[in-house]
Structures are given as C-alpha cells and as structure tokens.
Amino acid sequence: MRPILLAGHERALTQIKYNPDGDLIFSVSKDQQICVWFAHNGERLGTYRGHQGAIWTIDVDPTSTILASGSADNTIRLWDIKTGKCLKTWDFPTAVKRVEFNEDGTKLLGVTEKRMGHLGTIVVLDIEIDVEAEQSDEKVMTIVCDESKATVAGWSYLSKYIIAGHEDGSVSQYDGKTGDLLYNIPIHELNQPITDLQWSQDRTYFITASKDKTSKLISAKDLEVLKSYTADTPLNSAAITPKKDFVILGGGQAAMDVTTTAARQGKFEARFYHKIFEDEIGRVRGHFGPLNTVAADPTGKGYASGGEDGYVRVHAFDKGYYDFLYEVERERQNRLAAASA
C-alpha cells in the first residue's frame, strides 16, 4: 500500500512517537516544532510551539494526556496534548537528547548532553498526569555519566531499572529508585555510539541501534544480548513490531556524507528483520536521506519513519505482512490451534 507522506517539517526529523492507542503520531524535528498527526489519514491535528532550538526527543504519557519534549534550547517542556498549551518548562545547563515516561506515567527521565564543562546526566522528574496540576520543580534523582555520556535511556518494566545506551557503545543498567549503577556492559563496537533504544510492549526487553551497523535485542533484567541484527550501513533507529515477530531498522550513510553519494548508495531504506531468526525479510524504500527515526504502531497496524530529508512516511501493513510466517512458526501455530481445539 502507498505510504502517507507527512510533509510538515522543514528540517531533518529527530524522533517519532505513536500514542499507546496508535491513532496519533507525534513528530519532532530540528525546525523547533512538534507536530501531531492522525495516524489513519495523515491529517495534521496541530503543532506545539515554544521551543527555541532543535527538538531532539518527544514522549507521550500512557493515557495520551500530556506530552514531554526535550530540546537543544536546554529545556524539557510538558504540553497539554488537547489544547497545545505548554504546562511546564524545566531548564538544564545543556541540551536534552532524550525523554521517556515510565510505564504508568508517574516519572519522566531526561538525558542531558555533555557540553561546556557539564557532564552528561540522566535526570528523573516526578509527573502528575493532570493538565491542571502543578508540576514539581525538583529533580528526584540525577545520575551523572562520568565514564561515557549517555545518548539514549529508558525505563524498564515496573520502573525497576533505568537502561542507558552510551556513546562508547556500552549499555548500563541503573537501579530505577536509587540511581545506582548495577551493570555496564560493552554491547556494541567500542566507541560506536548507540543511537536508539526502544522497548518491547511489556518493557522486559529492548532493542538498540548503533553506528557500528548492528542492532541488538537485549534483556532488561540481565543485559543479556538475545539477538543481533547486522546491516550494511550505520543505524540511527530500531523498533520492535508488536503482534508480529519483526524488528525495523533505519539508518543510512551519515548526513554529512550524503551529498557525496548517489541515492542508491545511501541505503536509505527501512529494513525488516525477523526478530527471532535474525534474517532480513525485506526493505522499504522511499526516503532520499538517512532514516533518523522509526516507530512501530503499538497496535501493530503499521509503522512510521522520519528522515534527514524532512519527511515522515507512514506505512500501513498489508495482508502479506500479516500472513508471512516461517514454516516452523506455522507448524507451532497449527500445533497450538490443535491443542486448544
């Protein structure tokens, strides 16, 4: 099926998020605007204005009430999704590269950049999911990354751990309550930064993407690498698809090298891999710049990708996608069906 092209941004996309119901798509880009779109037809619902710098990251709470965004203007802002009103602004010494709500939306973490003598940190804020409520100014917790700065981070199941991916290719597990470092394991090639970290639906495992051209599926509990997916290009983003056992990887030649290479050279394709067997299943073309972010619809009906070219492409899966099964998967499905009958 033909994808819906969302041409609302003027500069490179940085992150895309679906809300939990999969009916809204939030996208942020370097053009200082947050856009929200209807997932089913690509109509723009509105924009959230206020940031004074490139916006790096966005997240939406589990009830689709409030929105958090982090920007190069050194702030995290909280927005009322419905009205577009800015509810709260937290200031930081450096740019904010990643924000994420925990599973019940009571906490928000932010990853701040290492710059101008400030070390990279992961901060945690208490949130009340209520547009009327007064949000607390205080940072509940600050984790300082003195070894290698964190590039991405997220909350595990039960908000038990904070998992961070670092610039040096390692992954850390911090205690979600105390902020103590529990493990730091070199997962990706040394000094190849981790560019994305996205969760499975129950947040028990996650996927990382790295400039080392690989993506890894990792268990949140013990940081065990469950699966590894190898691509032929530096990766910027990776997502796990619900319902079907696939992962989507996006990347391409670094933006600065793009003008020097032909379009076919850039490998600007979304790649689908089988989550369990690690085989590449297919590719989706369309972007004419590297893919900076991919997001899977939580209801499993489609995915969206955002590129350096400034476009968001929203794809709905067709029948072939749902029918695709490996022989051994079909075998197991048939066996289960027979057992339940």
Binding site: P62, T63, D104, D202, R264, Q265, V328
Partner: protein
C-alpha cells in the same frame, strides 16, 4: 631507604683507588674498534703465472697487461712481480687497479681464465688473501658439510583434491588487512581454508598453475602453499612492486621502481653486481637470483612530446611458452632474447630490428605446418620510418628467421593479439587517412598453423576498436568499438559489441572469418571469455554510469537465424545483470563461475563481490568493507588425453545424473539442518518469553501493583471526560469521504 649524602659510606667515595687495568675490555674493544680503511681494495693478487727470470719478466708483464686491461686501467708500474732469491719469479704478482670497482671486476672476470695452454690465472682480492689466507683463519682439516636428512615435503598440488569430492575451485580474498583462501560453495558461504592477518603488504597473486600464493612485502616476495600454507620460498628483492612468473612456474621476475642498493653489510641473496638494478630474474626451485637488470628509459614518443612515455612497460620481460627464453624489448632498436637457465644473451647479441615498438611471444609452443624442428615464435611490429612501410613480422627462435612479414601503410598504432593455442595472431592496425583526420581499423589475422602462414584481412572498421579478445582454444573473437576516441570526456561514449567467427568449410579447414553480429548502443568496455571457450561475458567495468554484465553463448543449441547458416557460431544472449561499481571480473579456471567485485583500491562505494554461474545467474552477493581483491586459484593443465576427454564428454549425461543426485542430497540435508536450527531458536524464544512473563506477573503481585499499570489511569480519564453517569452520551459518527482520481483522459466527441 634511599642513600643520602649523610650516610654515604667511605668506600663509596673511594673512586681514586679504582684500577683501570683490572677491567677486561677486550670484548668491547673488538666490538667498537674503528675499521681503518685497509687501502688494499684496489689491489688484486694474480696467481698461476709461469716462472720467469729477470729478462723474461718485462715480456710477461706486458703480456699480462693485455689481459688485465680488459677490465680496468693498469699500467706497467702498477704490476709488482716479486722475485725469489734464486732470480726466478715466484709465479705471482700484485696488481693495482685505479678503483675498487675495477679490482672487483678483475676478480669476477679474470679468475680462472687461461693465460696460455699451460697456465690458468687465479685472481683474488688482496683483502681476501689477507682475510682468508692468514694462518688459523681457515681450518686446516676439511670437515665435510653436514647434509640435511631428506624430509618429505607437502604435496603442493593437494589443492586439486577437494575433500568434499565436488571438484570445487579455490579462491583468495583480500579484504581489510586479512587474506583468506576459500572453497567456492556457490550459493552458500564460502568454506574458509586459511585466514591470516597482514599476510601481504600490497596484494596477493597466484602462480600461473596455482601452486604458490605470492605475498608482497617491503623486504621481498614470499611464496606460500601446500596443505599447511607454509612459507615455501623467499625472494628478498627490497621494495619490490611487481612480480611475474614464467608460464611453467620455473622462473620469476620481480621489479621495483627503486634501484636495488646493497648495503655495506651485504644482502642475503643479492650481490654487489645487483646494485642499481630494478629487475631480478629468479630461479624458483633454488630461490637464487639468476640475473638482474637495470630499468631502461623508454624514449618519449617522437612526434608528440606532450604524450608522456609509459611509466614503465610491464611485463618488461616476456617469457616463451616453454620457459626456455625470456626476452626484453629495447624500444626502437632491438629485442634481447636470453636463454634460460643460464640467462645468457642468445648468440651474445640482441636481435636488431630497427624501430621495433612491441613484441609478443606465442602463448603456446607453435606447431607450424611442415616445420619439424623445435621453435618458439614471437610477433613484432615496426612503424613507418621515412619511406619504409610499417611492418609486422613473425620471428622463429632460435633460428632468428622471419617466417612471415607484412608491410602496412598509414599506420598509427598496432596491437598484437595471440590466440591461446598460437593458432592465430590478430594484428589490430589503426590507420589514419592521408590528412590524418579520420581513423579506421583493420584486423589482419595470421593463420600460424597453416602452410606459409597466410594472412587474412577481416574487416575495415570505421570506429575505434577499444577492446579485442579471442575465444580461448577457439577461433571466434569479440571486439568492442566506439565512434569517438575515448578521451577526456566525462561520459564514456556508447559502444558497439561485434562478434566474429569463421565460415563453415569442408573437412577440417577453418573458413574465412566473417562478421556474425553487432550489438549497438552498449556501455560495455571489457570482454571476458570463459577459459574453456564458448561462453563470454561482455561488461562495463570501472564505469560510474553503468555496470552491466551480458552473458553470451556462441554455441547456442537452439534455432539458428537463417542468415547465419554458414557460420560456425550461434550467438545467444543468455542473461544480463548489473553489479554497481564493479571494478574487476574473473572466470574460475573451470569456466563454471564468474566472480565480479568492487575493489576499495579503486573506490570506496559498495565494496564486495558477486558470484555468477556461467549462464549469468546470480548465485551470491556479499558486501564486505574494504574489499580489495579476489583471485581464483589457477589449475595446471589436465593430465587426461584427448581420447579420455572425449570419452567423458560422451558419457556426460551419466556423470551429471550422479552429481545432480549428490547435489540434491546435500541441499536437502542442509535444509533440514536449517529448519532444525530455526525450530530450536523459536522454542528458546518462546520459553524465555514465558518465563519472563511469569516473573513479571509475580513481581507485580509482590509489589502490590495492578496487573495492568495503565488500566486504572485510563478508567479515571474516561470517567473524567464522560459528562455524568447515567446520562446518555450521544455517539458521534464521523464520516469521511475519500476521493482519488485514478485516471483522467480527454476525448474529443464529434
């Protein structure tokens, strides 16, 4: 505790008492003693002279001077012949040359030369006499050198026996800093045999029959082989750049653009004679150098000073098909033919051919009609000089007879193309019109095997011929032409690919060469025939615009076009393919597979390789970072006789049935293994997920959290936006109409 001034013992200060004589420094003295120049380097000692008295002495000296002056400058004064007490000479003389180099030359060239019938000169360096002649320097008693016990070496051709009994071919891959040798497994991952980091510094190369793998280092060339990939030979040519083997792997020539400089401390293999040389010819069996040569400056092409002379002609030394001769072109004057293994110039003189521009040896020992004696042939050409026409000649070695020559006019360039059996040589002649404005090319084919070597002119081609290739062991050829000369244009011009083959003729004769077909508007620039003939790949390589591959069969077994009934070929395009950015193509030695690769030596885009079968079916592609080189391991010539080969061809059907069965079995067993592995993976995943989910539920229960963390939140939110309980909420129906124009067409209705 560290010693400080306060508690230094008295003894520590007593340096005055130290006795220098007690220390034995003889070892140090020996090591560091300055070697004063001996000053005797220009002196030689001549032994083996006749015994003469004082009267006869001047006569002998005069006679001796004649000999001595052949290598350097010696006057009567510089010969000192001591006389004994009895008035007779002591049968030796000291001779002083004007330079050490002359003295060295005298030792080399005059030692063991006869003075007269009875006397043979022995010439030694004075310094050597001093060094070895002194008492105690050489042991008095002869001890026989220890002869190493014979040790069985590995079989160097063991690579011919594929352990899987599938007759697979090997290839070497050089990527990143690693060199690996692999078995070709068609579609599957190639099977690694050996993989080594930093195996070579610049490139790797197989010897022509596949026995050795050559690695190139700053110190020289190494040959590897056998089942263990041990180092077999060492050729220490410093800063070597290129290597070429003789066709039968008996000899090797190495070249470096830096002249060899032998350090004072000497060199393990090369001697002072090799100083300043660029080429070294080596014997492969003994790893000893046979002779070295300096590089010749090629004179700039006369009429066009802007055109730089080729940096260096390579291969400069060309081997005859049987390794008996190696020859070098002295551009414009002569060809030097050396006989192996002695490496002496044949008949002590180069073959003078005025104006000679290029030559090529016959690639196989030729068998001319009616010629019974042994011969090798080479073909050469000379341009027009004054009013003399340009000439292409065929010379027989060792007789140096010109067996055929052909005069040509208005020639601008000539290229010589031998067919692999030496049955034909095609001379591609680029001619210009009188005004030098238009160009045309003719192909003159010498039929070497036929009586009198008839020459056939095939065709006059208006366009520039940029490539030519004979079918190996066959008699068909392909040319690529282009309307404009390939110059400094950004976009390469379109090209045409033309096929030629002989007409059908009675009996065993080969008919006249005829044009078969031309394919226009191509981008191709390279021709690769299968080493077994019949199949040919025409491709556009190292081209940024296009990278097409066309696979042709010239003996297609289907219907033949009516117009080509009399020709001995049936051309069919089997397949086309594309490999973006490919820089090289190579057929495997069996003619079953074609490898194409994009080397990071040429560009950094999509480096890696593709593997095709002979029909052009893509079997495998792999993108490899910093992929540099691929090379199929050559095979030696078959040991089967013609009859045995014929027998096999006759029973091919039976053989292929067996092989097909084996292939099918292997594939199905591999499939079973893959399915098994997947089943295992799936089971592992499902088990892990189940245990994880269970744990999650338990954890939640332990923390007293609800099963779904957001269910309660969502319920609250729904309650908040629902106006009031009990009140009927009007359901809102949103209707959306989508309209899409599929096609628009206008029709004019009268």
């Amino acid at each position: 505790m560290a010693p400080s001034f306060d508690h230094l013992r008295d003894e520590d200060l007593d340096e005055e008492d130290f006795d220098m004589d007690e220390v034995d420094i003889s070892d140090l003295r020996e090591k560091y003693e300055v070697q004063l120049e001996q000053g005797y380097d220009t002196f030689v000692v001549v032994d083996g002279l006749p015994e003469v008295n004082a009267d006869q002495k001047p006569k002998l000296v005069k006679f001796l001077l004649k000999k001595l002056n052949s290598v350097g400058r010696v006057s009567e004064d510089s010969v000192y012949m001591p006389m004994g007490d009895n008035g007779l000479s002591l049968r030796f003389a000291f001779v002083e040359y004007s330079s050490p180099a002359e003295a060295a030359a005298a030792v080399r060239q005059l030692d063991f030369t006869p003075l007269d019938k009875k006397h043979t000169l022995r010439v030694n360096k004075m310094t050597d006499v001093d060094r070895y002649g002194r008492e105690g320097r050489i042991e008095e008693e002869y001890t026989a050198p220890k002869i190493e016990e014979f040790q069985e070496k590995e079989h160097l051709r063991s690579f011919m026996a594929d352990p899987s009994e599938r007759g697979r071919d090997q290839f070497v891959m050089f990527r990143g800093e690693t060199v690996g040798v692999f078995w070709n497994n068609e579609k599957d991952q190639p099977e690694n045999i050996v993989d080594r980091q930093q195996w070579t510094e610049t490139f790797v190369q197989w010897s022509p029959q596949g026995t050795y793998l050559t690695s190139v280092h700053a110190q020289g060339v190494l040959l590897w082989g056998g089942a263990s990939w041990a180092r077999l030979r060492r050729f220490p040519h410093p800063f070597v750049n290129l290597v070429a083997f003789s066709p039968n792997e008996k000899y090797m020539v190495t070249w470096s653009n830096r002249p060899i400089s032998i350090p004072d401390s000497g060199h393990p293999a090369l001697s002072l004679d090799d100083d300043g040389k660029n080429y070294v010819i080596w014997d492969l069996e003994t790893s000893k150098p046979l002779r070295s040569f300096a590089q010749q400056d090629t004179p700039a092409t006369g009429d066009d000073p802007a055109k730089k002379p080729a940096k260096f002609p390579w291969p400069a030394f060309k081997w005859s098909a049987d390794d008996k001769y190696v020859a070098r072109l002295n551009q414009g004057t002569s060809i030097s033919v050396y006989e192996l293994p002695k490496m002496n110039l044949m008949d002590k003189t180069a073959i003078k051919i005025e104006g000679v521009m290029d030559f090529e040896w016959a690639p196989a020992t030729p068998r001319r009609d009616g010629v019974k004696t042994y011969e090798q042939l080479f073909c050469f050409w000379t341009p027009e000089i004054g009013s003399n026409p340009a000439r292409v000649g065929l010379m027989s070695i060792p007789s140096k007879q010109i067996v055929r020559s052909l005069n040509l006019f208005s020639v601008s360039d000539v290229k010589l193309h031998w067919q692999s059996d030496s049955a034909y040589i095609c001379v591609k002649v680029d001619r210009h019109s009188k005004s030098k404005k238009s160009q045309a090319t003719t192909l003159e084919i010498f039929r070497v095997k036929e009586k009198g070597v008839p020459v056939e002119v095939v065709d006059t081609i208006k366009d520039t011929v940029i490539n030519f290739a004979w079918e190996p062991k066959g008699d068909r050829f392909v040319i690529i032409t282009t309307p404009e000369p390939v110059g400094a244009v950004a976009v390469a011009p379109k090209t045409s690919v033309a096929f030629f083959c002989p007409e059908k003729a009675k009996g065993n004769a080969i008919g006249n060469f005829k044009h078969l077909r031309t394919l226009d508007k191509k981008n191709s620039n390279a021709i690769y025939w299968s080493p077994k003939g019949r199949f040919v790949v025409v491709a556009a390589i190292a081209n940024t615009q296009s990278s097409d591959l066309d696979f042709f069969d010239v003996d297609f077994e289907g219907e033949k076009p009516e117009g080509e009934k009399d020709l001995t070929a049936n051309l069919q395009l089997m397949n086309t393919s594309e490999h973006y950015g490919m820089t090289d193509i190579e057929w495997d030695p069996s003619g079953r597979y074609v490898a194409t690769w994009a080397s990071s030596w040429k560009h950094a885009m999509e480096n890696g390789y593709h593997l095709y079968d002979f029909r052009g079916e893509l079997l495998r592609e792999e993108a490899i970072e910093k992929f540099k080189q691929w090379s199929w391991r050559p095979r030696p010539a078959t040991l089967l006789t013609k009859e045995e080969q014929k027998q096999i061809r006759k029973n091919l059907r039976e053989y292929s049935r067996v092989f097909e069965q084996e292939d099918a079995d292997r594939i199905s067993s591999a499939d079973v293994a893959v399915v098994e592995a997947r089943r295992r993976l799936l089971l592992e995943w499902v088990t892990w997920r189940e245990s994880m989910e269970e744990e999650l539920v338990e954890d939640r229960a332990a923390l007293g959290l609800p099963e779904d963390p957001v269910a309660e939140l969502l319920r609250q939110k729904t309650a908040a936006i629902t106006p009031a309980a009990g009140e009927e909420q009007e359901e809102q129906v949103v209707e959306e109409i989508m309209e899409e124009v599929l096609e628009e067409s206008e029709e004019i209705v009268n």
